[in-house]
């Protein structure tokens, strides 16, 4: 009767767990047309289940039940989808009432939408109303989002990939060290030689003792030339160590500064590419701390601590070799405490690392309080809440102290323990050394040089133990940096970008929906906007107008459905290239610190002066700019010349005009100015709008008079579309909005009238 799509295609991706159960149905000649997994039962417990759309009807089964719930196609059945607070629900009803409902977490939402859509089509086909359409569109196998081509990667799924970070996070810094390989190798060689030079003096104490001092005590005269040579050796080795040490410290500090700078800029560049969603969820203070102080900490670690540590390791190795070559037994006794110290370091490591991470987090808590309060200082003062904010700050500091105290208890015990072990080590060497001397195994000179070596050896070991804490600190910093670097933009660049050099500006919304957290902001939005058309978006505040605009700009990505420009999903266009076709004029125009000319040319830095002036003229900004003492060179922005709201707005219109966008977005562009200024801006806007696809949001309905169509939104859904007169005639949402505004305007007029009397 009906021609069903082949099972092979849709059936192959059904999860293993359900195949047997489904095979049993298929034996009876029922074909599976669509399916979705659900993960909640009717009492909202996590219980896996599956819903099938077959050639006969709808079937559902939970893991805990053997039997299928079956609903055969019949007139009046309807499958509806809704969601709230992160839980989606499919409800099957007929004319008499509810037949069944299934719930799932929103990860499965796209599949549910497809299922509900297919159900409608299949039911219509069953009832003979229309032939079932063949599923021609390629779908993502995971989330069922439509794809451009069959093997294109899914724009919706890409974002979920989460690669875990390894504990050896500092090694990831190699990526930034690589360009400086050459300098690093030279630095290493210098370190090697200068370290070797520092090992010469203790070695020379051996002949000084055995060939000079002890023979003298035994009555022999001092060999002056030998003494001269030995002292010269001491001086030379000290000079070599000094010169080379200076060279390598300078060189490696130079390199590490550059690595730090690269790290900082890379992080900032990456940060700028992240979507608005990321910035919405992070606090400014925290992000600033990460980029500023964390990179600095890593830099200090590389230039100071890591360098010292490398030198110390070399020193240790060389010392060990020399000691063994002199006397293996005494060397063994000397090195005995080393494993204990290593063990101790290892024990404390974990505790310290988590501790330092915690301190960092608490520290950003402290800065966050500042970042919250200082910009809002007017509100704080107006409501006389200084005391409470101070209390909040004190509380954050108290938390900081508590965490620090806990860590310091561990840390405080660490260094004295290392010192104690050092002393014990020396004791062992003395005892064993004296025993060996007494048995004529070694000379006094050997023992003295051993003591000279190991006193360095242990003093460095003590310093080395400090590397644990600085490494942990740096690793904690690196982790927080890589947290940013690893964060995949939720507005990802497409892997196989489609280029649209000549954008027409036709925009289609196909069942588009957007969720912010668990709040559904818009849903099921379908709208076709022709190239060159002007659309006015109308609705109460919170009805989803700005969200719609943000979706078009791709500040966020849709969570359901898709948005297409010229027939191509915007997620398949390179982000920057796509945005270069969009001009945006906001309610509160933001001017950067710089000249007016710079601000107008912000979107196209290569613009000529003539272009800038032409744009300013068209935006009706030319005249007021020339009235300023420095004309186009006047400084504006936070630290510059103050401009009125209308003037700033006209500069931002000029900015949008200059890039000559195909798509223009006016987000309440005139609502923050008085009506006289509005008229001027309106004139500027008329120049801007002509010939471009324009989407305008306006609170005052009168400003949308030029719109070809008005789209009325209510709670995230399109409720009415049409021209002003049609919508008024319909007496629906738009009519109500218009009436309310007209009444308000009348009231204002009356009030001013009364006052004039």
């Amino acid at each position: 009767m009906t021609h069903a799509p082949s099972l092979a295609q849709s059936g192959s991706s059904i999860p293993e767990a359900w195949r047997d159960a489904i095979a049993a149905i298929a034996e009876k000649g029922e074909t599976v047309l669509a399916w979705m997994e659900i993960d909640l039962d009717d009492r909202l417990n996590f219980v896996p289940g599956i819903i099938l759309l077959t050639s006969h009807g709808l079937r559902a089964k939970s893991r805990h039940h053997e039997a299928w719930q079956t609903f055969e196609y019949r007139r009046g059945l309807e499958l509806q989808r809704s969601d709230y607070s992160g839980v989606g629900r499919l409800t099957l009803t007929d004319t008499a009432g509810r037949q069944g409902y299934w719930q799932y977490t929103l990860a499965n939402n796209n599949a549910a939408m497809r299922l509900a859509g297919s159900f409608e089509k299949q039911l219509a086909a069953f009832l003979g109303e229309s032939l079932p359409p063949r599923e021609e569109e390629a779908l993502c196998p995971v989330c069922h989002t439509p794809l451009v081509t069959k093997d294109a990667e899914c724009p919706a799924c890409q974002r979920e990939t989460a690669a875990p970070t390894s504990t050896w996070i500092l090694f990831r810094l190699w990526r930034f060290a690589r360009p400086y390989r050459g300098q690093l190798i030279i630095g290493f060689v210098l370190t090697l030689i200068s370290t070797a030079a520092t090992l010469v003096p203790p070695y020379l104490t051996m002949p000084l003792m055995d060939d000079v001092l002890i023979p003298y005590q035994n009555g022999k005269a001092i060999d002056q030339t030998l003494v001269m040579w030995l002292l010269l050796g001491l001086l030379l080795s000290a000079l070599v160590a000094w010169g080379l040490g200076w060279a390598r410290t300078y060189l490696l500090a130079l390199v590490s500064e550059r690595i730090g700078a690269d790290l900082r800029t890379t992080t900032y560049e990456h940060l700028l590419k992240l979507s608005l969603e990321y910035f919405g969820g992070k606090r400014t203070g925290d992000l600033m701390a990460r980029i500023g102080s964390e990179t600095d900490r890593i830099c200090v670690f590389l230039s100071l601590h890591l360098l010292d540590f490398a030198t110390d390791v070399l020193l240790l190795l060389m010392t060990a070799i020399i000691l063994f070559s002199i006397n293996p037994w005494l060397a063994l006794a000397t090195l005995l405490p080393l494993p204990f110290i290593a063990w101790l370091i290892h024990r404390v490591r974990d505790k310290l690392r988590t501790g330092f991470e915690k301190i960092d987090r608490v520290w950003s808590e402290v800065t966050n309080v500042l970042a919250d309060t200082i910009p809002g200082i007017r509100v704080v003062k107006a409501f006389a809440q200084e005391q409470r904010e101070a209390e909040r700050f004190r509380e954050a500091n108290r938390h900081n102290l508590a965490v620090n105290d806990k860590l310091n208890a561990v840390w405080g015990m660490f260094s004295p323990t290392v010192s104690l072990l050092t002393e014990i080590g020396l004791l062992i060497v003395w005892a064993f050394g004296i025993w060996l001397v007494a048995h004529d195994q070694i000379t006094t000179g050997v023992l003295v040089s051993f003591l000279a070596y190991i006193s360095r050896f242990y003093s460095r070991l003590d310093a080395m133990s400090r590397i644990v804490s600085v490494t942990q600190k740096a690793a904690a910093g690196a982790k927080r940096i890589f947290d940013i670097l690893d964060h995949v933009s939720s507005v990802p660049e497409p892997a196989n970008p489609v280029h649209l050099p000549n954008l027409q500006g036709r925009i289609e919304f196909i069942n588009a929906g957007f969720r912010y957290g668990n709040r559904t902001v818009t849903r099921n939005l379908s709208l076709n906007i022709q190239a060159g058309e002007m659309i006015g978006l109308v609705g109460h505040s919170g009805s989803g107008k700005s969200t719609l605009v943000n979706l078009i700009c791709r500040f966020y990505d849709v969570t359901e459905g898709s948005i297409r420009v010229d027939g191509i999903d915007i997620r398949n266009l390179p982000v920057a290239e796509y945005r270069s076709h969009i001009g945006l004029v906001l309610q509160e125009p933001f001017l950067f610190f710089g000249t007016i000319a710079d601000n107008i040319a912000y979107g196209k830095p290569s613009a000529t002066r003539a272009e800038i002036i032409a744009a300013a003229r068209a935006a009706h900004a030319h005249e007021f700019i020339l009235r300023l003492p420095h004309g186009y060179d006047s400084l504006v922005g936070e630290r510059g010349q103050s401009l009125s709201g209308g003037e700033r707005q006209r500069i931002s219109i000029a900015r949008a005009l200059l890039i000559n966008p195909r798509i223009l977005i006016l987000d309440e562009a005139t609502s923050s100015v008085d009506s006289t200024t509005e008229k001027e801006i309106q004139l500027a806007l008329d120049n801007l709008v002509s010939g471009r696809t324009t989407i305008a949001i306006a609170h005052r309905l009168s400003t949308l008079r030029r719109a070809n169509r008005l789209v009325v939104l209510d709670r995230g859904e399109v409720v009415e579309v049409g021209q002003h007169d049609d919508l008024m005639a319909r007496q629906g949402h738009y009519y109500a909005l218009y009436q309310a505004q007209a009444r308000h305007a009348e009231m204002l007029a009356e009030e001013t009238g009364e006052r004039d009397d």
Partner: protein, 154 residues
Amino acid sequence: MTELKLERDSFGRLVFTDDAGNRHSGIVPARAFPISAPDYGVTLLSASGQELRWLEQIEDLPEHTRQLLLEELTQREFMPVIRRIIKLNSYAMPSTWEVETEQGNCALVLKSEDDIRRLSGHGLLIADSNGINYLIRDKLALDRESQRILDRFL
């Protein structure tokens, strides 16, 4: 206060009849402070989102009506309660946690440390990437391993 006229129709929707005798079907109850004071204040919203009736206490309602309301509220307030953190794949974000909840085992994806919200006392509210909120009633009541994991994020 007049009695609350509330019933469930065959479509599973709540129907409220107001004092004027108007029937509102598909009404939605909502708690005003679902986290800080779940027992204080429940409002009945019409399908179009207007408040129909404010109930300061639902304890005083007749048993049957109260059950209906509670049933509907449980359906709307999906907030699994975490009993134990089984394991997680990474301490860097985004991090996937396998947890045991009162509603069964599941996996949640934490996008950022900021999605963990401290509640008064030792409670925590964790929002996952799909916007589902998971509740930890008392972090000190979790087992040691779970506490150790959590500690890294606080």
